[in-house]
Amino acid sequence: MLNIEKLSAGYGKFSIIKDISIEVADGKTVIIIGPNGAGKSTLLKVISGLLTPASGTIYFDGQRIDEKAPHEVVNLGISVVPEGGRIFPELTAYDNLRAGAYPKRARKHFKENLQEIFHLFPILKQRKNQLAGSLSGGERQMLAIARALMSEPKLIMLDELSAGLGPIVVTHVFEHVEKIKARGYSILMVEQNVLKALRLADYAYLLESGKLQFQGTEQDFRQHPHIRLSYLGI
């Protein structure tokens, strides 16, 4: 579904990621882990079209997307939950969900999708007329995920979902991801919380200093000595 080949990108003279090749198969959950500054967010920015790559290609559903603008990429079926959620603070929760349904194909089924979302996230139904900026951190993250789902995506990209959230909230948020995974969405997740992320992964990549250092299944990662030491604390 998503095929990235030998992708390199950076900001001006600063090269952030080099020769990255990643694949997300249909319906699978792929995790990218790595330390701060490894280039994980930069990678998601390039895929979503916010940043132009220096070299390499990205194919989504057979179509080349590395030269496309962000709104075109989202219209093709990739939805993004950026770091911090970035809900629109001065819109109500309901309007944030309307914003998520902006693509024309999603507008047609707005009412049904909205009921689905309220079923998945009952708190959002309660708070639908509240200004999004006044929601709690966990609720905002939930709203950001719900907003991404409203566009009827094929692939959902999640950037550091657990960032800035307390441990119990993180558990809840990951439970939501499990629910989404169970519905058959393809997920590409960037995470620092390796322990929790690995449990959801069909496949994982380790990104360090802009390069892919290791890739494999959850088992492969759990048995790898460097990863056990540096990321799992075992």
């Binding site: 603008a69 709104h71 819109l91 914003a99 902006y102 566009s151």
Partner: protein, 287 residues
């Protein structure tokens, strides 16, 4: 009662200022650009209305409609040729370019029409409710302005394009991540600015006379309104417009119109001294 008349006149004047303020705030909120040449656009609209109605004997309403369409076109042209190419350059470049546009538009008017004043010279009736006199020439534009603002409010809150505009104002990168075409939104916003400029010109036509430097006076008042209300804040601009309208008209009725103007600026300076972000503005903390 003098003050009551001042109040009523102030409300009527404020209604028109509110349209100007709305357009400038919208453009600033979406594009982060101050449309310095906005008064000049209204001036061009007025010239079109006068030329069509007086010289070509076209019915007033049709002239207004033509002017509105022309101003939408003019602002789209301004956006595509002046604003959009400079969007990623330093703010100063954008401001200077728009200031240059002021000079261009004024001199185009000067070149075509000369420095003479052009206007309708009509006298409109006024009616009285008790001791308060209401001029029809101000009442109709006021009602049009309110109607336009109401339609705009509905547009912003009920349509998907309006939603996109609100989203771009708050977080333009995120807006593009929910499939909103920000370039298109910029263009639409400028077009709306042109539409409003046309409506303002239609409302001003019966009351004012136009000359090439007409824009300057209104640009100053419009920007004072916008800053007073809080730059970028639509509701703030609305409130500030009526505030300024009322203060200037009450001042004009009690003293003279010059004192009314001075009063506006004195109060503006005082408010900004103690609340630099304006009435409803957001305080920006310096690093």
């Amino acid at each position: 009662m003098l003050i009551l008349n001042g109040l009523v006149n102030g409300l009527l004047y404020g209604g028109l200022l509110a349209l100007l303020a709305f357009a400038i705030n919208l453009i600033f909120g979406v594009l982060n650009v101050l449309h310095l040449a906005y008064g000049q656009c209204v001036m061009i609209g007025l010239y079109i209305i006068y030329v069509l109605t007086i010289l070509l004997h076209i019915p007033f309403i049709i002239s207004c409609f033509v002017a509105i369409v022309a101003l939408v076109g003019l602002n789209i042209l301004i956006h595509v040729s002046v604003v959009q190419p400079l969007l990623k350059t330093p703010l100063l470049n954008q401001l200077i370019a728009l200031a240059g546009l002021i000079i261009v538009l004024e001199n185009v008017a000067l070149g075509i029409f000369g420095g003479d004043y052009l206007g309708f010279n009509l006298i409109f009736p006024a009616f009285a409710i008790g001791e308060v006199y209401i001029r029809i020439s101000m009442l109709i534009p006021f009602l049009c302005s309110l109607a336009a603002l109401a339609i705009l409010w509905l547009f912003l809150h009920k349509t998907y394009t309006g939603l996109a505009i609100k989203a771009v104002v708050q977080d333009r990168e995120m807006a593009s991540l929910v499939a909103m075409n920000t370039k298109q939104i910029y263009l639409i916003t400028f077009a709306i600015g042109g539409l409003l400029a046309g409506i303002v010109a239609a409302c001003f036509a019966p009351i004012y006379v136009v000359h090439p430097h007409f824009g300057l006076a209104f640009t100053l008042t419009a920007f004072v309104t916008v800053v007073l209300g809080g730059l970028g804040n639509l509701l703030g601009g609305f409130i500030a417009a009526f505030f300024i309208g009322i203060v200037s008209q009450i001042g004009a009725i009690i003293f003279t119109s010059e004192i009314g103007e001075i009063l506006v600026y004195v109060i503006f300076i005082l408010i900004i001294l103690f609340r630099p972000q304006g009435l409803l503005g957001v305080k920006v903390r310096s690093a």
